[in-house]
């Protein structure tokens, strides 16, 4: 995908009123109503056996869309929760193409209206069918629990019995939706629909796809980004038992075998000469030095208010600091993969993708086939976190399958491939200055950000540029460094590093003012009451300001991203430089909640994802190569490092905000600010090294 298109698309979506205009009616009503469930609209099918099949158009990567989107549909459909089946539909405009996918914590936000409307419309068709059968007015019929009830006679007809007649009716438009007081499913936590098949190995991830006659591929890529194959010798690889073919594609040399292991063994036996290209001398220390040089010069102005230079010059107290964050890999548990079959007349792609539209466009481009001949079969995702929003792995798999046509081929990345050929969360270097008046009130705030952007410059500065603190003189500048390292969306995007920078620096300003960190923030947040509210809740629930057991210290961090508001207090101890996070209290306002248990799980999830970056994770470069190879030196937090997480959800009927990326940003400053409270040392670079705290 072209990331620019994606970001501008998101902006357009927001500009037209906070919702992507997904309808629910099929462009051409399905006429093939023979066997199987009957189609009422693009999201609802009802079987004559009384089952209800719901189309889940947002990929399930653990964030709960299979369950939460079903709740939106079922709330209005009045179906029996136990009779629900779900499936992932193909790519179609009705499902959001050409940007069909799960990204930006948008799934609930963009489905909230259309899916309730789709459920309501299908229900009305079933009610109409019952009214016709009973020859009564529709107002005499009520839908409940997979049946339509005749309110005069008490007679009942099941949805299954009504399906055929309902499917022939026109879809009604503009059916009124329930008010919040009428919700029965929304705001409750039915068990996740996907759990039973996730505890017996049967759920079906991308990597589990098996096709008749399928072969398996492993791809050797240049260890330096953008490097190319100069020449290769496949003789030894072909001699490995099970290896069928060696094919060169645009991104390297693939070994195709009759099982994954043989493909990987064959790959080890390849002899390849690389043209490493222009990035072969890039190293992390060199990049840091280069970016420090860039930060010394003015950048592009991203936000300016008042006269920050004059205000800083005249400030009674001055705070200056440089913060840095490393590149990060996504490392979803399921290594990237795709299974592809290319034929002269079409192409099938079985893939766990966050953006199915992009996978389809990619297949069309590589094969030269029309997009509608490239069928995407969405599988469950073994984690996404933004990584599966790309399609580099789909390009590779389609290129290999094209060379092997018509044999289906599954490409499997190794963990080493995953860490060394990711599209990374960018590293960043930020120079801050802040001024305070004699009373300790902030008078100026300046930030100069050096960070490789993608999909628009805002990804590099979000979290600083849009900071909510009321400071009269503000300047945010930005410089894009030139690097060969691929960067892209990583859970919470720019907020992931910038919330750390911003909230740690605000703590520094609070310190210079001699103020309590929570109190200092409160005074500056009157303009953002929902953010102030979660700060107040987290302060109260964490007993902020009250005594802690000896050796324990608190820190706070807040963020307003993805249409939600999040505040966290971390409780830590530091022993010989080793940071232990004991407890995290989190308050979140994400508007109307669809499933509180899933919201809580996502909060825990985002905290773990962010916490791993505080003390453990960082991608570094040496001679153009990623140093980290596997979970031995890119080791996320494990169960024995898991703090107790306590979640407080604000009760609200505001439009839903996002949740998947809500809690990843603020855990980082909450921990580093607690580390400062414990050690009086500011953590200005991640991950924390024990030696820096001793």
């Amino acid at each position: 995908m072209n990331p620019v298109n994606r970001r501008s698309f998101l902006k357009t979506g927001a500009a037209v009123g906070g919702g992507l205009l997904v309808g629910f009616q099929l462009p051409v009503k399905s006429q093939a109503q023979t066997a199987g469930p009957l189609t009422l609209n693009a999201f609802v099918k009802v079987g004559t056996d009384d089952t209800v099949t719901l189309e889940i158009h947002k990929s399930e990567m653990g964030q709960g869309t299979v369950t939460s989107l079903s709740q939106l549909l079922a709330e209005e459909l009045e179906c029996d929760w136990k009779k629900i089946r779900t499936e992932f539909p193909g790519v179609a405009p009705v499902y959001g193409a050409p940007m069909m996918g799960a990204y930006g914590s948008l799934s609930i936000r963009t489905s909230w209206q259309p899916l309730r409307q789709a459920g309501a419309a299908a229900r009305e068709m079933l009610v109409q069918a019952a009214a016709q059968q009973w020859k009564v007015d529709k107002s005499q019929c009520r839908a409940e629990n997979n049946t339509v009830v005749n309110t005069t006679t008490g007679a009942k007809l099941t949805y299954g019995a009504l399906a055929e007649a309902a499917a022939k009716l026109p879809a009604p438009a503009n059916v009124p939706l329930k008010t919040a007081a009428q919700y029965k499913l929304i705001g409750t936590s039915p068990k996740r629909l996907d759990t039973p098949a996730k505890v017996n190995g049967s759920i079906g991830f991308g990597l589990d796809v098996r096709r008749p006659g399928m072969l398996y591929a492993s791809l050797e890529r240049c260890p330096v980004f953008e490097g190319k194959v100069a020449s290769f010798d496949a003789t030894k690889a072909m001699a490995v038992p099970g290896v069928k073919k060696v094919v060169q594609i645009s991104n390297g040399v693939a070994v195709v075998a009759d099982n994954t292991w043989s493909a990987m063994e064959g790959r080890k036996a390849l002899v390849i000469k690389w043209d490493e290209g222009k990035w072969a001398n890039v190293s992390t220390p060199g990049l840091r030095q280069e970016w420090a040089g860039l930060a010394a010069k003015p950048g592009m102005s991203m936000r300016k208010a008042g006269d920050p230079e004059a205000a800083f010059a005249g400030a009674a107290k001055k705070v200056e600091a440089v913060y840095e964050a490393p590149y990060l890999s996504h490392a979803p548990m399921e290594p990237l993969n795709a299974t592809v079959e290319v034929r002269p007349d079409g192409c099938d792609i079985w893939v766990a993708s966050q953006i199915q539209s992009l996978a389809q466009q990619t297949a069309a481009m590589v094969t030269g086939l029309p997009a509608n001949k490239c069928l995407i079969h969405t599988q469950y995702l073994g984690g996404g976190f933004g990584r599966r929003g790309g399609a580099d792995y789909v390009t590779e798999a389609v290129e290999i399958a094209k060379a092997m046509s018509p044999t289906p081929v599954k490409l499997t990345w190794s963990r080493e491939d995953d860490l060394q050929h990711d599209t990374y969360r960018p590293a960043s270097y930020v120079k801050f200055s802040g001024g305070l008046d004699a009373q300790g009130s902030p008078v100026s705030f300046s930030a100069r950000v050096v960070c490789p952007p993608f999909g628009g410059n805002s990804t590099a500065v979000e979290g600083i540029q849009d900071m909510k603190y009321a400071i009269p003189n503000v300047q945010v500048e930005f410089t894009a460094p030139d690097t060969g390292t691929p960067v892209s969306y990583w859970r919470s995007v720019g907020y992931s590093q910038n919330t750390y920078f911003m909230e740690a620096f605000i703590d520094e300003m609070a310190g210079a003012a001699g103020a309590d960190p929570v109190e200092f923030r409160r005074k500056l947040l009157a303009g953002t009451p929902r953010l102030l509210n979660v700060l107040n809740i987290v302060a109260e629930k964490s007993n902020w300001g009250k005594p802690l057991p000896a050796g324990r210290f608190r820190g706070v961090g807040i963020v307003n991203n993805i249409g939600s508001f999040n505040a966290q207090v971390a409780e830590v101890s530091v022993t010989q430089g080793k940071v232990k996070v004991h407890k995290v209290v989190c308050a979140v306002d994400c508007g109307q909640v669809v499933n509180p248990a899933i919201v809580e799980a996502q909060i825990q999830s985002g905290i773990v994802y962010g916490l791993s970056t505080v003390t453990k994770l960082g991608i570094t470069l040496d001679k153009g190569r990623v140093v980290q190879k596997n979970f031995n030196n890119y080791d996320p937090i494990r169960i024995d490092e898991m703090p107790v997480v306590e979640v407080h959800i604000v009760s609200s009927h505001e439009n839903p905000g996002g949740i998947g990326e809500a809690s990843t940003p603020s855990i980082v400053p909450a921990v580093v600010n607690a580390v400062y409270a414990a050690t009086k040392k500011r953590v200005r670079m991640l991950p924390i090294k024990a030696a820096d705290l001793v």
């Binding site: 653990g62 505890v199 038992p241 979970f631």
Partner: protein, 160 residues
Amino acid sequence: MAAVKFTLNGKSQTVDVAPQMPLLWALRDTLGMTGTKFGCGMALCGACTVHINGQPTRSCTTQVSTVAGKTVTTIEGLSSDNSHPVQKAWIEADVPQCGYCQSGQIMTAAALVAKTTNPSDSDIDEAMRGNLCRCGTYQAIRQAVHLAARYQAQAKGGAQ
């Protein structure tokens, strides 16, 4: 190639592959049992955990030849109907998010509750720290292992 004979999920199984092929790939590619997952290939993440003679073992670094004559249990063999105490507890606590690591988590937990009647949080941390979860389901896992231990005790009590 050499035929390796072992017991898989209670049934006799023969697999005819290169003897040094990891058990993981013999299970997934040769036998089509895809419940056991590939995560790292170096015994670092636990996604590929199976039981060999009852011991939780990383199948990604276990050569298939070494299981000759042994008993192998995979996630598919834990129960036919999600009735194993650990599966029941995982459903009750709604543990999985993406679910990819959960086969391995469940196999490790099943071995733990089989030998430890009433595991403490630190017993759980010790037993489960080899199993990575990027979705961060650790708090739910702790809760579910406690629950599974209770179900396991009840099952044993019922059998007496």
